[in-house]
Symmetry: C3
C-alpha cells in the first residue's frame, strides 16, 4: 500500500506558512466547515492526562461532523513494540495488532504518549508514535509524543501571525524554572516549526540546558536571558528538563522567571506559553495578566489548529 500520510511533525506539512494561513482562514470561517466530514470516525488515545488537547482536538472533530471516542490508556494497556517477542509477560497486545484493529473502526486516530525521561535514546526514537504510524492503515495525529507536539506548534504560529501578520520578527524561546522534570516536546516542536518561517529565533537558557542540537541548529543561543529579551517581538516561555543530563532538573533558579522588568526590555513583545503554567514560578502574575499576554487566544487557537489538521488529513 502507499505510505499513509500522518500529522507527526513539521515534516508532515509541505508549506508551513501556507498551512498556518489556511488554519487562520478556517478559524475566521469556522462554521462553514461544520459537518463537512459527516459520518467519519475518530479515535483519540491518551497514554497520559490531557485537558486542552482533548477538548480542542475532540471538539474540533465533532464540529466537523466526525463521531469521536476518547480512550484513556492510563489504567493498564501496555502494547508490545518489539518484533518477534514471545509475549508471555505484562503486555497483552502487540502495537501492530492494536494499530490495525483501531484502524478498522476509525478514519483517523490521534495519540498522546509522553516520554519516560529516563532513557534518552529510547525517548528520541519515539517508538509509540513511530510504530503506530507504521502499522495503522488510516492517518495518525500526534497529540504530543516523546519529542514532538505539532498541534501546539501550529497553534503557536497561528497566534504569532494573528498578532504580527507578515512582519519579520525576533522570536525568543526562553527556558524558565519548574519544580518537576518536563519533556522537551513543546520546545523541540516550536523550534522546528518557527525555523520554517523567516523569523530570527533566539533560544535562551542556563548553560546546562541545551536542547537537542537538531532543533537549535538554526537558532542563536544566548545564555544571558536579559540580552536575549532585548528588542524581542515574541517571548515564548517554557520549561524543559535537561537534554544532556537527560530528564534531570539542574536548576530551579528563580532569576529565570519571566517578569515585567524583563518584558520591558523587549520591543513590546507578546507573551506566550502553551499552558498549564505555574504562576509566579515560570512567570509572574503581572506578565500573565498583562495586555501583551496572548495565552488564552493561544489556547483557543488549539481548536482551529486541530480542525485544520483533521481537515487536511481527511481531504488528501
Amino acid at each position: 500500500m502507499d505510505k499513509q500520510a500522518h500529522f507527526y511533525s513539521a515534516d508532515s506539512i509541505q508549506d508551513i506558512d501556507a498551512f498556518v494561513d489556511q488554519a487562520i482562514a478556517m478559524k475566521k470561517n469556522t462554521t462553514s466547515f461544520n459537518g463537512t466530514l459527516q459520518g467519519k470516525k475518530m479515535t483519540l488515545i491518551f497514554f497520559n492526562p490531557s485537558l486542552r488537547t482533548r477538548l480542542s482536538t475532540e471538539f474540533a472533530a465533532q464540529e466537523l461532523g466526525i463521531h469521536t471516542i476518547s480512550m484513556n490508556a492510563t489504567e493498564g494497556w501496555k502494547w508490545e513494540i518489539d518484533e518477534g517477542v514471545i509475549m508471555n509477560l505484562d503486555k497483552a497486545e502487540h502495537i501492530k495488532d492494536a494499530a490495525q484493529v483501531i484502524s478498522q473502526y476509525s478514519d483517523v486516530i490521534a495519540i498522546r504518549s509522553f516520554p519516560g525521561l529516563k532513557d534518552r535514546d529510547a525517548d528520541y526514537r519515539d517508538e509509540m508514535l513511530q510504530n503506530f504510524m507504521e502499522h495503522a492503515s488510516v492517518p495518525v495525529i500526534n497529540m504530543e509524543s516523546s519529542i514532538y507536539h505539532p498541534l501546539q506548534s501550529l497553534t503557536d504560529l497561528m497566534t504569532i501571525k494573528e498578532a504580527f501578520g507578515e512582519k519579520k520578527l525576533k522570536v525568543v524561546l526562553s527556558w524558565a524554572p519548574h519544580p518537576k522534570a518536563l519533556p522537551q516536546a513543546v520546545s523541540n516542536s516550536f523550534l522546528q516549526w518557527i525555523n520554517r518561517t523567516g523569523h530570527d529565533v533566539v533560544v535562551t537558557h542556563p548553560e546546562a540546558y541545551d536542547l537537542a542540537p537538531a532543533f537549535t541548529a538554526n537558532c542563536a543561543i544566548e545564555y544571558n536571558q536579559q540580552d536575549a529579551f532585548k528588542d524581542a517581538d515574541v517571548i515564548y516561555t517554557k520549561n524543559w528538563s535537561s537534554y544532556n543530563t537527560y530528564g534531570q532538573i539542574l536548576s530551579e533558579d528563580q532569576s529565570w522567571m519571566v517578569n515585567r522588568k524583563k518584558m520591558a526590555l523587549t520591543n513590546n513583545a507578546i507573551f506566550m506559553h502553551c499552558l498549564p503554567v505555574r504562576r509566579n514560578v515560570v512567570v509572574t502574575d503581572g506578565v500573565m495578566d498583562s495586555d501583551r499576554s496572548v495565552i488564552y487566544q493561544q489556547a483557543g487557537n488549539r481548536l482551529h489548529a486541530a480542525k485544520a489538521v483533521i481537515n487536511h488529513l481527511l481531504n488528501l
Copy 2:
C-alpha cells in the same frame, strides 16, 4: 464585561414556579427542542463520581444538539484557587487559567465538586464553583457543589408539581440514617427551592442534626419524626452528616428509617429520594417499591430539568 449568568442555586432563577412549569412543558414536548442548540459545545467536569448526573446532563445536552465532552478530574488535576501564590507545589494550573481555557472551547461548562467535610467554613465558601464562575467567560452549571445541588432540586419540584399541580402541600424533609458521612448539598438545595413555593415545609431530624440556619429559617423543625409525618403530602428522605459537629456521623439510629408504618401516618404522601439509596437502612423495600414511591419518575425528570437549564442559559 457583563456579569455572566450561571446556574448555581435557586438564586440563579428569578421565578422558580414559572421555571418549574417551563421544565414540565419541555418534558411534555421534549422532541420539539431536539437539535435546537445544534453546534454548541458543552464540557462537563467531574471532580467526583457520577452516574445519574452525568447521564441526565450529558444526554440532555446531546438531545438539544450540543457536542459534549465529559472529563473526570479525579485522577490528578488540582487547581490552585488562591490569588498570588507561588505555584511550586502540587497544583499545576490556576483555576483562573483553567476556567478561561475551557471557556475557549465551550459554550457552557458543567462542574461537580463535592465538599471535603473536614473544614466547614472552606466548604461553605464553595470555592471551586465560585472561583470557576468568576473566571469563566461562558455560563457554568452546578452539577453538585460543596453545598448546593440545584439540578436535583429543580427535578424535585417538577416531580411534586406533576403529582399535585397547584395544590398547597405539607412537604416533609426527613433525615434518615446512613453508614457514611454525606454532604448537605441535596438537603440545603431542596429547602432553598421548596421555600420559594407556597408550601408548608417541615424538617425532621435527630436533635443534633440541624442543617445550616440559612436553609431552615422558613421551615418548621420537628424532632419527632412521627409527628412530622402526620398529614404530610410529600415525604422527601435524605441522610446528611452533621452541620454543627461538622461532617460527622452522630447517629445511625435505625428507628429513623422510613417504613410503611410511618408512611401510613401521612396524607397518602408520595415518597421521594434523590438516589442512590441504601435500601433497608434509609428506607425499607416496602416503601421504595410501593405505588406512592415516585423515585424513578424523579430520577427520570433529571433529564428534563437539565434540558430546561441548558436551554435557559444558552437562550438568555
Copy 3:
C-alpha cells in the same frame, strides 16, 4: 409488562443463520443505515476494560444516529444484587434501582462484566447481566458477561460466512496456552453459536481443560491437537482457564501453540482469534501474519455485528 427483549446469548436470536446474513448485508450497505435511529440514546457500562468492544459498539451506535455515553464502573460502583439486604456495607445502590434509573435515560443499555474466576457457580449464574436485564425497562446488550460474549460470536459467524458462503465446514476450536487465567466466555459463546449452524465442530484441548458440558454436548472432543487440525476449514484459537479446576491455569504447554506446521495439516483453513492475542505464546507470528489469517477482518466485523444487534433490538 411484556418481557423485554435483550441480546444476551444465541438464545436471544430466533434464526441465527438469517441474522448472520442480515449483519453481512448491513455491512455491505452500511451507510444506508446511518442515522436511521436518530435521537435514540445508548448507555454503555464497563465493569472491565475494553478496547475493541467499546470502539465497535459505541461507533456502531453513533453511525446509526444514536447519542452515546460510555461509563467505566471500574473505580468504585458496586451494585447490590441480593434481594432484601440491609445495605449498610460497601454497596451504595441496588442493581434494581440502577437498572431502572439508567433505563430512564436510555433506549438501549450495553454492559460488560467479567467473571471473578473464583466461584464457578456464582459466575455461571451470570448475576450482573441476569439481574440487570430483569430490572431494566429497555433492551440490554451483553458486551461480555461472566460466561457469554455474543457480539464476538456473531462477528465470528459473519467472518466464516464471508470466507466460505454456504459450504459445510469442519470448524475447530483449539485451546492455546496463556500466562494469565482467562474466562471461558468467548469459547462458550462460539460453541453455542456455531452449533446453531450445520457445521461439524471439533474442540481440541489438553485433557484437563474441558469446557462446561452444556456447550460441548454437540461437539467432537479431540485431545490430540494435530488430529483435530486435519482437514479443518476453520481454526479458531483461544485460551481459557480450567472449568473443572475452576479458574486455574493447569498448563502453559507451548506445544499447544498454533504454528505453520499445524496449519499445514488443515484444508487450507482460515485462522481466527478474537484478539487481543499474545504472539508467539498462543500463535506464532508466522500464522498471525499469513494470508489465511482473517484476524483484522474479524475485528472489523465487530462494528457491523454491533450495528445489526442495535438495529434489531430498537426495531422490534
